[in-house]
């Protein structure tokens, strides 16, 4: 069984209020030297079979359809253990 990982991040021009809240909290806790924080999402998808090019392409399609909204987000995809 193979695992495909999809990481989703807001595009740089889109405001990230959650990242800003985390940044503020880090400062209050005394973590120094943080210039900014952007928060994203990580999906770990276990395939029923092997990570064939077809299977990965299917997950890529799912990532662009449901897991991310291409209007505001970008995603990257990799098969775990191979990157």
């Amino acid at each position: 069984m193979a695992r495909v990982v999809v990481d989703v991040m807001l595009k740089s021009e889109i405001l990230d209020p959650q990242g800003k809240a985390v940044h503020g909290a880090l400062g209050r806790l005394g973590f120094e030297g943080v210039a900014s924080v952007r928060q994203g999402k990580r999906f770990e998808i276990d395939l029923a079979g092997e990570a064939t090019p077809e299977a990965v392409a299917e997950i890529e399609r799912a990532a662009g359809t449901l897991l991310s909204n291409p209007v505001i987000e970008d995603f990257t995809i990799h098969v775990e253990g191979t990157s």
């Binding site: 405001l15 800003k20 897991l67």
Partner: protein, 246 residues
Amino acid sequence: MRIGVVTFPGSLDDRDAARALRHAGGEPVPLWHGDADLRQVDAVVLPGGFSYGDYLRCGAIARFAPVMGPLIEAARGGLPVLGICNGFQILCESHLLPGALIRNDHRKFVCRDQRLRVENTNTVWTSEYQAGQEIVVPVKNGEGGYVADERTLDELEGEGRVVFRYLEDNPNGSYRDIAGITNARGNVVGLMPHPEHAIDTLTGPTTDGLAMFRSCLALIMGDSWSTAARNHESPVINAEGEGVRA
């Protein structure tokens, strides 16, 4: 005039939307998220609240509900569709409207009466307003910040597709104070504020929201309805409050 109101798991304002439609002289028809059937309605309202827990992104899972298949196709064909709050989020996720709604910039839920300017009265849902009219309706959201890239924003402005703009205080960090937009054809409108909560003075701050529903009914029924509604006559409403085609 039969106007569908879709109930998703988590919808809160479907009953208020139905009530608003009834007040405006229409016949609300309940539609179910799990049925790929629009029941031959003349228009559809996607109400506010939540849907499918709004997991992933607001409206992201609702956009793939069975009812959305025929709805998206019909909307592309000209069916009048109004999305309020979560309904607006679903329309953006469906790509029937450009852009997206994200968490409020101040990260708090906002609930208050909000002043808006009606900037486009050529849509199916705003023809009963005056251009530039200022209205007050409730706004209540946690993820109501309208965002899009600069090119899309310029395009919306250039084509007059910003329908409502926040006045005085932007409640959620929406780019360019955008509260509501339309598609190019003017049949699909989405907005974060809640016109269905401003249809009588008993339950709302104003009756400013009623004109949205009257606009759609007027278009469907033709000019005689529109004139009668404006004059507060009711010759085209039968005893059940149901519109009769003039």
